[in-house]
Symmetry: C2
Subunit: 319 residues, 2 copies
């Protein structure tokens, strides 16, 4: 048995590689088998993380395992899906058993928190990268799309934005992680928590939704385009954490909140009555603006006057 | 819109990126949506191809697109699945529109032949590699597993073996492709044809099945292990094409047929009555041996005497 075949057996023995529920057959045959309950649809998304592009090399493999699964699973949250499982296509330059053990431990930790099972994959030799394909299910017709926002809806997000982008100077080794604030931001970068429960609660209520991976402005543009509407974001309402404000200062924190990617929180549009229901149920709903007729995204002040959007867009780890 | 965002739009416009049938929602939202008919299960597999490991760099992108999809789709054939679609996670070092157009044309060609739709994906910057995740469906309980082979069953394959391995010296530039035989072998390497119809016909008949990707001996070992039986392969019955015999000579052809990977034909075990049915229906069923009590794989002569299996195993493009 070759060393890569051994790795397959290794992942097959991971805690998250369990069969049961919707997973009929997991690792070990040509394919995995899933059941999708009657009246539900399968929800699928794929994301690749490349070393040196989407994360620094070297990175802590335990954190990397968590982050890789969180990034992909967040797409399920953006659809309002109930998670099922994932496949892992892992490409590694050489076999390092210590690295693999920590990476698998990270996967296990995030999989446990998200109720995801590892159902299959592939391990190959090459420059470090990983492609995770995630699976969930949603009742027919209830998936949260980007395309249903209506003028008059309120634009909301699921939490404070910009923390992950605020952590980038630490991730890149440009600033020390020697404060409580820095440690908090680092945690938001490495171990984002997909808002699966919030996404499920938004079924039948949100008119549009997605997870914020490219940055608030860029992702709101996706909703505006898909829904053929305009989104007005009130700058002073963009929620920013105390940690980010203390670590980065007010102006840089706002930049991170508007343009920084990697937060993996939900953005969504809600009619007023649905908003009331969500608030009464205690969900983390931060109103940051509203939907208008038109196109594109406007940044506005409290009086609705447009502000300049300059260089507040997509802000990846590197281009 | 960044150049990678443009690529996403580019693939979204590919002929194979169509919505309909089991594909409810394709490229363009956080996730794709699939329906799985009542009484069926979803079948999933993931494969990664890395430049310089699984294919030479540079390679013809039109052929590469075909091969990448064929390799993954063949896993669906090995389960007896009806194909639905696939996601493409493509990592490229830079944006070369000519390369992308040819790669997409190759995907389209293979997708059309396999009735597969491109339903989503991710495009990232990095060393050239691609991870395809394929989706199919199969009636509950009818998936072809590796684990059901019974002593007394006949061991069969779906066609002549070793052609793809025979093409490797040409693929690697060590031999010229200036003969009809060479061109035939090259075609088998670059554009294998997943045996989807054969796999579906084997539902309810084969006791075990898989697609031959690692080589006959290695893959038969997988069946033997999963089924807790032994497989006896009669050496003289291993089907070898005239092209391979003429190009490589008898001894090297046999090596390719036994140990060479990348053929993507099916190997399966059948009780005698199911074999008769398959033959009467005109399916390409080549009997190469039988299932015995025991473990592992034996290579035998016409009298059932064991032959030496030396260096006839896994034979990848490179280790």
């Amino acid at each position: 048995m070759g060393e890569f075949e051994l790795i397959r057996h290794y992942f097959a023995a991971a805690a998250c590689a369990r069969v049961g529920g919707d997973v009929v057959l997991g690792i070990g045959d040509d394919c995995a088998l899933l059941t999708v309950p009657v009246g539900e649809q399968l929800v699928v998304s794929t994301d690749t993380l490349v070393a040196g592009v989407h994360f620094p090399e070297p990175s802590d493999p335990y954190l990397l395992g968590q982050r890789a699964l969180a990034v992909s699973t967040s797409d399920l949250a953006g659809m309002g899906a109930t998670p099922i499982g994932f496949t892992l296509a892992l490409t590694i330059p050489s076999v390092d058993s210590g690295w693999l053990a920590e990476f698998a431990r990270g996967l296990d930790a995030m999989a446990a928190g998200c109720a995801m099972s590892l159902i299959g994959g592939d391990t190959t030799r090459g420059p470090l990268s990983m492609t995770l394909t995630v699976f969930g299910r949603v009742p027919v017709g209830e998936a949260l799309l980007r395309s249903g926002a209506q003028p008059g809806d309120l634009l909301c997000v699921g939490g404070a934005l910009g923390d992950a982008a605020g952590a980038l100077p630490i991730v890149l080794g440009e600033r020390d992680a020697d404060t409580v604030e820095a440690a908090t931001l680092l945690g938001r970068y490495w171990t984002p928590q997909p808002q699966l429960a919030l996404g499920q609660a938004l079924r039948g209520k949100a008119t549009a939704a997605l997870d914020i991976s490219d940055g608030l402005l860029a992702d709101c543009t996706h909703i505006a385009t898909a829904s053929s509407v305009s989104l007005a974001i009130e700058q002073s309402r963009v929620p920013l954490s105390d940690s980010l404000l203390r670590f980065a200062g007010a102006e840089q924190a706002l930049q991170c909140g508007l343009g920084g990617g990697d937060d993996y929180l939900l953005a969504f549009t809600l009619p007023a009555d649905a908003l009331s229901t969500m608030q009464s149920e205690g969900w983390p709903v931060h109103i940051i603006g509203h939907v208008e007729a038109g196109e594109g995204v406007r940044l506005v002040d409290a009086d609705g006057n447009s502000l300049n959007i300059a260089h507040r867009g997509y802000n990846h780890f590197t281009s």
